[in-house]
């Protein structure tokens, strides 16, 4: 951000060729310096937070990986996660996370896109001003409440439709579906921002060539905003990836290496919530393994967020 530079020092002439700079600025007092220093520290705290995350998660994760019973290779390729018998393969937790994320995206991508297109291209300002806050309420509902909703409403419906024998009480499908509802507002509002940023001249050009409203929306506006849309989808994915309570309540309480969405399977976040909610000793392998999972989760979401930010930064340049 460009600093507002004020020119309040003037070169003035005193006699022949004798220039002196007269500085009209008030001297910065000591307490102002101190205030500025304190404010800088406030800003720097965010850096300490990141360093804290990396250091503390990394420290415990390192302790975990240096244990004789654990190897990095086993961690990333093992298909069994059972700390009691020293089996630490993250794949069952990872597949469960990927499944809930994928189901959530299957719900949230089309719905989020459609909502955004409707709000940006079709809705009157009045309609938009009622629908947007409603969707924001949805985004503000605590996830523990959504977890309860998944377990007591969505799961019974799934069991009613597909049969009680196919659908288990805890399953990744219901957690994923509700998670889709959770990230829908996030995606729709970001996509709408991207669509609204497309210059009106592009739309008018298309109308001038005889395109219908639908054609303008899908063939002109959406492609023009594609980078912004991608950024929104990646961010939504990162949010779904790290979401904990819905899956902790509805997806199942036990690692399960499966690709069947109707079976219970514990995700990475769900595992952390369940294990840390019990009483575990700080010295146990289980405790350390949680930090390894958390570090992995942190790195993946960080990676996704960085890509998303990079894309947004680039697409801003296109139209500004």
């Amino acid at each position: 951000m460009a600093q507002r530079q004020l020119t309040n020092s003037f070169p003035i002439e005193i006699g022949e060729g004798n220039r002196k700079v007269l500085d009209l600025r008030k001297r910065t007092k000591l307490h102002e310096r101190i205030i500025q220093g304190l404010l800088f520290i406030c800003g720097a705290i965010s850096i300490f937070t990141t360093i804290g995350i990396v250091v503390y998660l990394g420290e415990e994760a390192l302790r975990f990986f240096t244990l004789p019973e654990v190897t990095l290779l086993e961690f990333f390729t093992g298909t069994v996660w059972q700390p009691q018998i020293d089996e630490f393969g993250i794949l069952p937790l990872l597949t469960a996370t990927l499944m809930t994320t994928m189901i959530a995206m299957l719900v949230a991508i089309p719905l989020g896109m459609f909502v955004a297109i409707y709000l940006s291209e079709y809705a009157s300002p009045k309609v938009r001003s009622t629908i947007k806050p409603t969707l924001e309420i949805l985004a503000g509902i605590p996830t523990v409440v959504l977890g309860y909703f998944a377990l007591t409403w969505v799961t019974p419906i799934l069991r009613g439709v597909f049969g009680e024998n196919t659908v288990q009480i805890y399953n990744t499908a219901s957690a994923g579906l509700v998670m889709g509802i959770l990230i829908l507002p996030l995606i729709s509002s970001m996509v709408e921002d991207a669509l609204s940023a497309v210059p009106i001249s592009l739309r008018e050009g298309a109308y001038g060539l005889g395109a219908t409203k639908f054609e303008v929306a899908t063939q002109i506006v959406v492609p023009a905003a594609l980078s912004g849309i991608t950024a929104a989808l990646i961010l939504g994915m990162s949010r779904a990836f790290g979401e904990a309570m819905i899956v902790a309540i509805a997806a199942g309480a036990g690692p399960n290496f499966t690709l069947n969405p109707f079976e219970g399977a514990e995700t990475m976040t769900g595992h952390i919530v369940r294990i840390s909610g019990g009483d575990i000793s700080y010295e146990s392998v289980e405790y350390k393994s949680l930090f390894a999972i958390a570090l992995f989760l942190f790195l993946v979401t960080l990676f996704l967020n960085l890509i998303s930010q990079r894309i947004i930064a680039r697409y801003r340049e296109e139209y500004d």
Partner: protein, 424 residues
């Protein structure tokens, strides 16, 4: 461009091309269909929201099959119902039926004869009769299938009595946490949530606003400040459970002497550990600081540069300008952003489960060094229990949580309107 483009003139001479006509019709029809699809998708979110609220309300009332360990008819004097019993009679009955120790404890809490009729009646029910909810049904099921439920209950729990129960009651809000869904309440959890929120506000508000001022008013475009900016955006996207792990490793373990209150001599060294309100509050503060900063930056950026220029022109220093002109104008936006992030912290569960660990707390928190439970943690624990009745009290607790959140958001809107009237 070289030369004039040649226009195929037969198109101009054929105004009514049948293929063209149907094409336009199809395109318009397609457009209209999709319009409805877009509209429907938009409604889906609103439907989801209403279904959610209805499901939860549905679970807070309904039939319950209640079984008494000792039938009330055996306890009460003949010909009297529980509502008619006086406290003198209750005193006698209690003396006969509960252990001496328990009776003494009850007397010490408040002499039985000095209690209200309702309290005395409750004492008899919960101390002697000891009801257990065998099965419960939601409001809709209770209304639609009452006969089936009746038949089911008589067959499966012949000793149980079918009553229509309202789960969200005044007692539910004012009772402490308990292992029995019929007597469990949420006051412990509400107080825990409030204590934590107070710490979050005290810590996160100054830091967040300070950082926002620094980034908008002081920071020039150098390396450190760019790193800070990118970093804040990233922190806002870090999953909340990661903050929980950070809190566990740092506030609970490394800072244990501070967060347990041991170095202040506050707590019993025997039971002290860092899993306290203070640790929870600090963790949630870290979680919402990035959000407060981002909102604060936007509010500060919205203050017109001309205000600053005028202030500088009158000889004010940079801090005077910020304190007297920028902040008062930015405060509505900053407050709104802060309250919304506090609302987020209020509903946050995962990091607190990680920090609070196995929390079965029946006493109200007394200081920041107390162990805690919060409303969302309580909901999570009750949802995880298999018995029906826990689902009902989880739903009741959710209603309380949602009402508190709506109140917070309404405050945000009120403050914004009030301050914007006065200052702009």
């Amino acid at each position: 461009m070289n030369g004039t483009p040649t226009i195929p003139d037969q198109n101009l001479e054929e105004p009514a091309n049948p293929q063209f006509e149907t094409n336009v019709k199809n395109r318009n029809r397609k457009g209209a269909t999709w319009r409805y699809i877009f509209l429907l998708s938009t409604v889906v979110g609103i439907i989801a929201l209403s279904v959610l609220v209805l499901t939860i309300i549905d679970d807070t009332y309904g039939l319950a099959a209640i079984e008494y360990k000792v039938p009330l008819s055996e306890i009460l004097p003949p010909g009297k119902t529980i509502d008619e019993i006086t406290c003198q009679e209750a005193d006698v009955i209690l003396q006969e039926n509960v252990s001496k120790n328990r009776y003494r404890t009850l007397q010490n809490e408040q002499p039985i004869t000095e209690r209200t009729q309702e309290e005395c009646a409750n004492l008899i029910v919960y101390e002697i009769a000891k009801p257990v909810a065998r099965a419960t049904w939601s409001l809709s099921a209770s209304l639609l299938n009452s006969e089936e439920i009746q038949a089911y209950t008589t067959e499966k729990y012949p000793e149980a009595e079918l009553v229509f129960k309202k789960w969200l009651t005044k007692e539910f809000i004012t009772s402490p946490q308990s292992d029995d869904p019929l007597t469990a309440g949420i006051i412990t959890a509400i107080l825990g949530s409030l204590w934590i929120i107070v710490i979050v506000i005290i810590v996160a508000f100054p830091i967040g606003v300070g950082a926002a001022i620094y980034l908008e008013e002081y920071a020039n475009d150098n390396m450190i400040n760019r790193v800070i900016r990118t970093n804040i955006n990233n922190l806002a996207g870090v999953p909340s459970i990661i903050y929980g792990m950070l809190g566990l490793a740092f506030f609970v373990r490394v800072l244990e002497p501070v967060t347990s209150g041991a170095i202040f001599g506050f707590s019993d060294p025997g039971t002290a550990n860092g899993r306290t309100i203070l640790a929870a509050g600090l963790t949630l503060a870290l979680l919402i600081v990035p959000v407060i900063i981002i909102n604060g930056q936007e509010a500060i950026r919205a203050v017109p540069a001309s205000l600053r220029q005028a202030s500088y022109g009158l000889g004010a220093t940079q801090w005077q300008t910020i304190w007297h002109h920028v902040l008062p104008n930015a405060i509505p936006g900053i407050l709104t952003g802060t309250i919304l992030s506090v609302a987020r912290a209020f509903g946050e569960t995962a990091p607190l489960v990680v920090i609070g660990a196995a929390t079965y707390i029946t006493f109200n928190p007394e200081s920041v060094f107390s162990k805690f439970t919060t409303l969302p943690i309580q909901i999570y624990q009750w949802t995880a229990r298999p018995q029906d009745a826990f689902g009902n009290i989880a739903a009741s607790a959710i209603i309380v949580l949602l009402v508190l959140l709506v109140a917070l958001n309404a405050t945000a809107i009120y403050l914004r309107n009030r301050y914007s009237r006065r200052l702009v």
